[in-house]
């Protein structure tokens, strides 16, 4: 086989593998959300379908597919159909550049080893807003419209803070390639300890970008009756729902890669690229474990804190996180300059 054919073949394998893991992860993060929320509220949660309710996603899926896919008469049909699809896609595209493992055999465990990894990610993430804005606009009804407006303002604001927060990371690593970022950290020098302010800003911005509480302005069940997806039903609604969880997974994976050392652990010799298949798989499991940790964090926060008011959200984004990010870059650059 020629190198090109080999590349295509292995890339196809990796894509199928990632999708095969990502889809159940999305489904089960929904179950986790429901069970954890139930436990926090002194309830038990779904436990009827299968052992411990583990087949619940299957039942939910069947329900979503069998429900009537209703399109209200007053919507703008083309955009109305387009919006749910656009919501799902950016999350998947983001996953493509994330190194989810070290090596298995000769293959790097990343779908696309881009040398502009993080720039690509930010480009894709900024597309994420279109799904929600289009849904709000296409629904042609007041609550979704308000949700769409809020979403556009919120996501654009926090993207800036997010972008500023990662600059010190790349000043330190000296490369935009995410594989290099992980390799830099793999010795145990996790960037969360070296760049805590960056991590904090990125974390807050990630909550805002994924529209999770305490920043779920576009959805706001209590004020906007569901916000941008009020008019959606059936599988189109499910796509928004799954898109939210896919975004959470993508954001978690991003944080793990940038700040928590990706697939590496600083002990048991797991800190360098795997020599055998077993260690390679172990690295993937470590990565998934770290992502799972963040997912539980996302879910827990949702049931812990009330929603910010809209002006508070804007205040926090523009008047706190943005200056903090700038100061962080400045101070860190000065420190690097003095050290050199």
């Amino acid at each position: 086989m020629s190198p090109t054919e080999q590349f295509l073949l292995f890339s196809a394998f990796k894509i199928v593998g990632v999708i095969a893991i990502l889809m159940p992860m999305i489904a089960y993060s929904v179950v986790a959300e429901r069970r954890i929320s139930a436990f926090i509220q002194d309830r038990i949660g779904p436990n009827r379908v299968g052992p411990f309710g583990l087949l619940q996603p299957l039942a939910d899926g069947i329900k979503f597919i069998l429900k009537e896919d209703f399109t209200p008469a007053h919507v703008r049909k083309a955009y109305f159909w387009l919006a749910p699809a656009i919501t799902m896609v950016p999350a998947f595209l983001t996953i493509a550049v994330i190194p989810f493992g070290s090596m298995i055999g000769e293959q790097k465990m990343v779908i696309a080893d881009l040398n502009v990894g993080i720039l690509y990610t930010f480009g894709i993430v900024s597309l994420g807003v279109y799904g929600i804005v289009l849904a709000g606009y296409a629904s042609n009804s007041k609550y979704p419209f308000l949700g769409g407006i809020r979403s556009s303002a919120q996501m654009i604001s926090y993207e800036i803070a997010m972008g500023l927060s990662v600059i010190p990371v790349f000043l330190m690593v000296g490369d935009l390639n995410l594989t290099k970022v992980v390799e830099y950290q793999s010795g145990g020098a996790w960037l969360i300890f070296q760049q805590p302010i960056s991590f904090f800003i990125f974390l807050v911005a990630a909550f805002a970008e994924t529209n999770r509480l305490p920043f779920d302005m576009p959805e706001s069940e209590t004020e906007l009756v569901g916000g941008y997806h009020t008019e959606y039903s059936s599988m189109k609604f499910a796509l928004f729902f799954l898109g939210e969880y896919a975004n959470m997974i993508a954001a978690s994976a991003m944080m793990v890669t940038l700040f928590l050392g990706g697939w590496s652990l600083p002990f048991f010799g797991l800190d360098h690229a795997a020599g055998s298949v077993g260690v390679g798989i172990l690295h993937i499991l470590i990565f998934l474990g770290k992502v799972g940790f963040f997912l539980v964090g996302f879910i827990w926060v949702r049931w812990m804190w009330p929603r910010f008011r809209y002006d508070q959200l804007m205040h926090l984004g523009w008047e706190r996180l943005l200056p903090a990010g700038l100061v962080n870059i400045f101070l860190y650059s000065v420190w690097l300059w003095l050290r050199s």
């Binding site: 436990f39 926090i40 002194d42 827990w300 049931w303 812990m304 804190w305």
Partner: protein, 177 residues
């Protein structure tokens, strides 16, 4: 009324104490005992005077108390009760000396559990009892007939002791003559 809005102090503005407290509260609830009742497996016990489904009762000697006067049928707001009156003739063996219902049906799909039948019954023969969850696979199955109602109703001791009084009265009459 004027709601006072005192400015937040430094710690409140910092948000971190609120975060920690929020986590502690949710953690406590996460591990605490759950209040959910696993319904079909676990059921709550209803109080003894609960007004559930109406059933016919027997007295302590196993006699059907209903005398098919049809007052409950008339009073029933949703017309759930249907009585076919001329019952089997008096059976001295069990002491039923008044007329019995030939058939007594309650359509549990129509019944609204209002208790008028219990209230109106001069013989204290029908009572709203403790069943609240009646299920069936067809409409026919939900029409409870006399046998079923008597079986479900069980025995309710008769405080009036009507037949005993009747017998005593009769004996006293006999003695006089």
């Amino acid at each position: 009324m004027i709601v006072k809005r005192p400015p937040l102090n430094f710690w409140e503005r910092l948000y971190i104490p609120a975060v920690v407290n929020g986590f502690l509260v949710t953690k406590k609830h996460f591990f605490s005992k759950k209040v959910t009742m696993q319904y079909p497996e676990e059921k709550w016990t209803v109080p003894p005077d609960y007004r559930g489904a109406p059933y016919l009762v027997k007295d302590e000697e196993g006699r059907t108390k209903c005398v098919s006067c049809q007052l409950c049928e008339f009073v029933c707001p949703p017309k759930a009760i249907r009585i076919t009156p001329p019952g089997p003739t008096v059976n001295p063996a069990v002491g039923n000396v008044e007329k019995l219902p030939l058939e007594f049906e309650i359509n549990m799909l129509r019944c609204i559990f209002c208790g008028f039948c219990q209230e109106v019954c001069p013989e204290e023969a029908i009572f709203l009892q403790r069943d609240y969850s009646l299920t069936g696979e067809s409409r026919e199955e939900m029409i409870y007939n006399k046998e079923k109602l008597l079986e479900l109703g069980g025995v309710r001791p008769d405080t009036i002791k009507k037949w005993q009084h009747k017998a005593e009265e009769a004996a006293a009459q006999e003695g006089k003559h």
